[in-house]
């Protein structure tokens, strides 16, 4: 069992690296930072299931790899199902000290992979599913996905996406799984804590990691951490957990219920080329939706009788 005492500083993170040097991620890649942190949080007693996504390219081509843990690469839509097979086989073999992790992009989670993920969650498959969300099909050259936010440029939404992003954590909450969390590599300790908590819980755990992508979001490669922080500080990305159906905001998002404390969303949007064509009307719309989201978070956080799908250990 994982100790309940969590680290206070990034210096306490393991020095071991399982995402090795020589990987071929873009400079400033948010998902690569996320993957490195994932290994630091969970160690190397894990089996990784990776569908078609940036992370099937990042380790580099055969006969080399920069991942020092066992990895099964699998077809785009199959992460949830293939992880189910790994979990079942481990159980059959009596192996119970290995954590199975699905590591999939937003396209493989929100869109083409949602069925297999939903099935795995409904079956209570004992694994951690991390969706590293760079809000587009990054690997194929930035096409819109169900995770692309309103107004964002992609190669298939050249004048900006006209629809809103799916609310994936709440879709997962409706599956009554024991643990759901959002995270961002700009808050590494928060992400690490959540992974460790997830590891100690039996059942399906879903962690939604907002992973800024300089290539797709059109910002300077040195600004990945800053962009992630701004996403959280503006409230556009709220850090929260839903544990057995109970919603809780995490620092620093728990301090942002008061609208005044949230930084103006323009600070986040103006740094990214993908939002260049947003009009003032668009920004106003996004602001309105954001405020509505926060009203909902506020209600959920303060309501003990949560109106989320409650869940208990079976």
């Amino acid at each position: 069992m994982q100790s309940t005492k969590f680290m206070e500083s990034i210096k306490e993170l393991s020095k071991e690296e399982y995402l090795l040097r020589g990987h071929i991620a873009c400079a400033g890649c948010g998902p690569a930072i996320g993957l490195r942190l994932l290994f630091k949080a969970l160690g190397n007693k894990i089996i990784l299931v990776v569908p078609a996504c940036c992370s099937s390219v990042i380790p580099g081509p055969y006969p080399y790899t920069s991942l020092a843990v066992p990895v099964q690469n699998i077809i785009f839509e199959a992460t949830g199902a293939t992880a189910s097979g790994v979990v079942a086989a481990l159980r059959k073999k009596g192996v119970n000290d290995v954590t199975v992790v699905g590591w999939a992009g937003d396209g493989g989670t929100f869109d083409i992979g949602i069925q297999a993920l939903s099935g795995a969650a409904e079956r209570g498959t004992n694994f951690i599913y991390v969706c590293y969300d760079n809000e587009a099909y990054g690997n194929t050259g930035v096409q819109r996905s169900g995770a692309t936010p309103y107004g964002a440029w992609t190669t298939t939404t050249p004048t900006g996406k006209k629809e809103r992003k799916k609310d994936m954590p709440f879709i997962m909450a409706a599956h009554r799984i024991p643990y759901i969390a959002t995270a961002c590599p700009s808050y590494p300790l928060d992400f690490v804590k959540k992974l460790r908590k997830a590891k100690a819980i039996k059942g399906t755990k879903f962690i939604h990691l907002l992973a800024p992508c300089p290539t797709g979001w059109r910002y300077d490669t040195s600004k990945t951490v800053e962009i992630g922080r701004l996403a959280v500080q503006t409230g556009l990305w709220a850090l929260f957990e839903i544990e057995y159906g109970r919603f809780k905001l995490n620092p620093p998002s728990d301090q942002l219920i008061d609208k005044e404390k949230r930084r103006p969303i323009k600070e986040y949007l103006s740094l990214q080329g993908r939002f260049r064509k947003l009009t003032d009307d668009d920004i106003e719309k996004k602001q309105k939706w954001l405020d509505e989201d926060w009203e909902r978070y506020h209600k959920l956080a303060s309501n003990n009788a949560s109106d989320l799908a409650l869940c208990e250990e079976i």
Binding site: N44, K45, I46, I47, V49, S56, V57, P59, G60, P61, Y62, P63, T65, L67, A68, V69, P70, V71, Q72, N73, I74, I75, E77, A78, G80, A81, T82, A83, S84, G85, V86, V87, A88, A89, L90, R91, K92, K93, V98, Q115, A116, S118, G119, E122, R123
Partner: protein, 392 residues
């Protein structure tokens, strides 16, 4: 003691999975495969069959879950039919390319539209290029025996490919026939536990199915082709060995009947092959030198055996329960292609019969044989592909 049961091919397939000591089953129901997964559920939940059973949410996920389990180093099983199989098309390629020895009964059923749940080979035939070994069975005993044989074959290091065990909807899937189930001890001796050379292991981390550049991709494909050639050699050997253990053989690659002196050979697959034997008996009584050759393995295709048959006969009448639109029947295509560049080729006539479950009895086959014999005597095939009993 071996036990004789009278049961449907579907239930027999479930018993074969149990007898093979399958460790993980992942499956999704579809007519007419359902009674396989239902029986497996009963066997698993009663504790008789010690397997993990994943009730997935689609056939695509069934194959994806089987791959996850196989990659973790256990013996895996699924079963499907028709639309379920074609939904699996993508993972089928990934499973063979990953060299996972998954065994999967396919209950051959027509594809829509319109909805049709009856026997037809277009489902599995349209998967013939996925890198899966394909067996086609003619009775329930063969279904049982072939599943056991297939694990032995597929897990052989010289093969490491998955296999489909094809059986026709209702004609076999729901028909009760006597089947001899050998002693478990002897099955265990014939089929030892699966010991993969590699699997997902935290003590020996490896990355499987990485990106492969043009520098290497062809070599991996060539290895699959070699594995198919090895399978072609091993299938008859394993069938013979099985025969020695349990008393049943099924003809290796091609189940031949009265072919030695035959002028006309009926080339068939599946249950049409069993019916053809009756036709052969009847026509032999009239003095017509007919034989039957039931192609039991479609991938790898038994080219060499087809050539041998062709050397000593005047004509092939080929019956296909499927059609490659814009060309002809699948077996007819492969047979003709096998004979390319051979001297003294026999006449070949193709017959499309039994699509969507239409009956093909020994009488239907008799008509086919008589028409073919007539063309054989004239030395000329009047129609390359005949649609049998087609409504005008």
């Amino acid at each position: 003691m071996a036990q004789t049961v009278i049961d449907t091919a579907n239930h027999i397939a479930a018993y074969a999975a149990k007898a093979a000591r399958v460790q993980v089953v992942a499956a999704y129901p579809i007519t007419p495969q359902t009674s396989i997964v239902e029986r497996i559920a009963e066997l698993v939940e009663s504790g008789e069959f010690d397997a993990e059973y994943i009730r997935v949410e689609s056939e695509h996920s069934a194959m994806a879950a089987c791959m996850g389990a196989a990659a973790t180093g256990v013996r895996t099983f699924t079963a499907t039919a028709s639309h379920g199989l074609v939904l699996m098309h993508e993972p089928l390629h990934w499973a063979s390319g990953s060299r996972f020895p998954i065994v999967m009964p396919v209950v051959n059923r027509a594809l829509g539209p319109g909805w049709n749940i009856w026997a037809d080979y277009n489902d599995s035939m349209s998967q013939r290029d996925t890198g899966w070994i394909q067996f086609y069975c003619a009775d329930n005993q063969e279904v049982f025996d072939t599943i056991i044989q297939a694990y032995k074959l597929c897990e052989n290091e010289r093969v490491l490919l998955p296999a489909m065990i094809c059986l026709e909807a209702f004609i076999l899937s729901h028909t009760y026939l006597p089947v001899k189930i050998p002693d478990q001890e002897k099955i265990d001796e014939f089929l030892p536990p699966y010991k993969p050379k590699w699997f997902l292991d935290v003590n020996n981390p490896l990355s499987h199915a990485n990106i492969v550049s043009p520098e290497w991709y062809m070599e991996f494909r060539y290895m699959m082709q070699e594995a198919m050639e090895n399978a072609k050699q091993l299938i008859p050997e394993i069938d013979k060995e099985y025969g020695k253990y349990f008393g049943f053989e099924h003809g290796g690659l091609i189940d031949k009947y009265e072919c030695e002196d035959a002028d006309l050979i009926l080339l068939t697959m599946g249950t049409i092959g069993s019916e053809a034997k009756i036709t052969v008996d009847n026509l032999r009584k009239e003095g017509l030198k007919v034989g039957s050759a039931r192609v039991r393995v479609f991938r790898p295709f038994p080219k060499e055996e087809i050539r041998k048959l062709a050397e000593n006969t005047q004509m092939f009448a080929i019956i296909d329960r499927g059609i490659s639109f814009g060309m002809e029947g699948f077996l007819a295509e492969e047979t003709k292609s096998s004979l390319c560049n051979q001297k003294d080729q026999p006449l070949i006539a193709g017959f499309i019969a039994g699509l969507g479950g239409r009956d093909v009895t020994f009488k239907t086959i008799e008509k086919i044989a008589r028409k073919s014999a007539e063309w054989m005597r004239r030395g000329r095939v009047e129609k390359e592909t005949v649609w049998v009993d087609l409504r005008k």
